[in-house]
Amino acid sequence: MALTGVEIFKLLPKTNCKKCGHPTCLAFAMKLAQRQASLDACPDVSEEAKKILGEASAPPVRPITLGVGEKAVKMGEETVLFRHDKKFVNPCAFAVEIKDTDEEANVVKTIEAVLDSEIDRVGQKLRVDAIFISNESNDAGALESLSKLVSQKAPDVPVIISTKDPAAAEAALKIFAEKKPILFGANSENLDAMAKVATQFKVTLGITAKGLEELTTLTEKAKSLGVEDMVIDSGARKAKEILEDNTLIRRAAVKKNFKPLGYPVITFAQRDDSMLETLIAALGVAKYSSIIVLSSIEKWKNLALFTLRQNIYTDPQVPMQVEQKIYKIGEPTSDSPLMITTNFSLTYFIVSGEIENSKVPSRLAVMDCEGLSVLTAWAAGKFTAAKIAQFIKESGVENEISHREIIIPGYVAILSGAIEDKLEGWKVTVGPREANALPAFLKSRAS
């Protein structure tokens, strides 16, 4: 729970010196409580007050970054339990497990699959985010050589090193120095030594426990040993336990500001049955996991999980949208076809993708409908004949093309007459309903 203005006021110097730009300390305290001011503005605040206020104003789930550079993943910072209340902040990361007992040929295959996992969906580049390097053998040398192989083949991919052996951890961490890996595997038996390694290498420490009570004890102890950045595992493995523990952790952090559990959660979804594993991972996506460890990354599975993550982590208030304009696809000439659609990202990317597939250079007029799909926009009165006519006239497309034909989505065939009435001299052609019929449609017109 954040502090109230009055609680904050009690910690301030109470001199009303105005150096912070506010008439009184109380006024400044009120602004702080609303998070509209920063404590730095008061030069006279005591170190102790700084510490208390800093902790109280920290986000309920601590922000953690895994990896460096373009592929770095941010996690934590969540503030709510339900996505309709407020946008979920940092999409969870998917990590594939590679064991140091796996055959080298398989290891190489998996690394290559990670490197080749990137998929473009609705304008976002999505990929398997990290590799979870497992010390299954309990042998330090095996972990070290697997780590070397991973860092050689996939130098930019963030890694999580999993071992219970502090000496093995040290050897592996040396290989990833400066790359912000996570060291996972601190438990009730090895915590002191693991905390030491984590602070020495300045890495995030992954804590694994048997239940939430033990987890609380362990994170508090790690903190007293100087570890600030942690990710946490309650030991939940079955779907039922994952839902229960993740829910209680998120509630404790967000509603009670319970700091010992205010860290990103790592979830283990591995199953022999890859389809079931997909569903367990999907549970983690929807219910509060920040890292999800998988045993395999088939492309079909990635696509489904990436898509769910994108759905769950979109802003519930603002649909994803693209800019209103006439998009050129391929290199259209003045004779090329002109089509129209709405500016909902999903609609735009599906339609433009299919036009690309057709290899027929085209223009796609994308009209601002506040990010609604074609039918929704039509039902909401935003994709009407009058508005379409006005948009086409004002877009200037008439100067770019020599013909006067516009192709409309099949689902709004009903608009064709009214558009012809409002756009003088134009011919309206009704296109197919589903965009996947566009390539055949465009090709048959072109020939």
């Binding site: 996505r83 569903l279 929807a286 492309k299 079909w300």
Partner: protein, 314 residues
Amino acid sequence: MAFTPPKESYAGKVYSVTVGTGDTAVTFGGENVLPFHGFEGETPNRPVIAYEIQDVPPSDWPESVQKPFESVSSDPVEWAKFCQDTLKAKAIALRLIGTHPDRENRSAEDAAKTVRDVLSAINVPLIILGSNHAEKDSSVLVAVAEAAKDKNCIIGKAQEANYKTIVAAAMANNHKLIAMSELDINLSKQLNILITQMGFDKEKLVTDPMSSALGYGLEYTYSVMERIRLAALTQNDATMQPPMVADIGMYVWKIKETQAPESDLPQWGSLPERGIAWEAVSAMSFLIAGAELLIMRHPQAVEAVEKFIGEMEG
């Protein structure tokens, strides 16, 4: 700091609804907590998955989901028996899509005959769905409700545009009823109120907040379901307490992800698994958002979701 699990208890409870008759009747709903929150309350009934079949051959379904039914789907009776006997379906949802004016435009009498034939061939509960053509459904669903009198089926879907006749028919013939509105908690609440004002028992309703597919509006259905369930539990809002249905197959099996071959889109991976995963992930998402009844198509997707439910209960 000692850890006290922040458990919650709620003021409200979801109604439990029973469909079918005799030993094979099934009950869903009945929980007084969020989905699968057995750790802080009661979750007496397992969610139910109904296999979708239709009155005409599934020529509009993509190949990968036509295939498991190819030897039986030319006849709704054979298809229903196959789902019950071979796939061990706990319930069957018969969609009378052939009655749609743009499709085969089958008559209400034809539909009633299909329903009678299917009912006499199976003993698991039957859900009877129209073609979603508001006007045609209001005559078709009346005829089939009569044909299925006292079999304790679920009839659907009643929408704002046609609920009156459908509600009357469900009431007169002792059926449960699906009330569907379009992705809006207020519309859903309003429709449930209109229906109960006609004298329909609110404990016999099933809410359909409208489904969608992963990647194609899933987040809207998901959030509307979560909001409906929270209203039922935290505000004890009786109009929001009927269990919810997610009618998934028709949304999932029309999109590109369940149809495009791997040869066209190598980055999307194997088509059969992709389709199954798409249906299963959509279904699973709605389960944890609040659905207790699912209508699905692919046997392997159903199997995966059943395993998931098993782990959730287990």
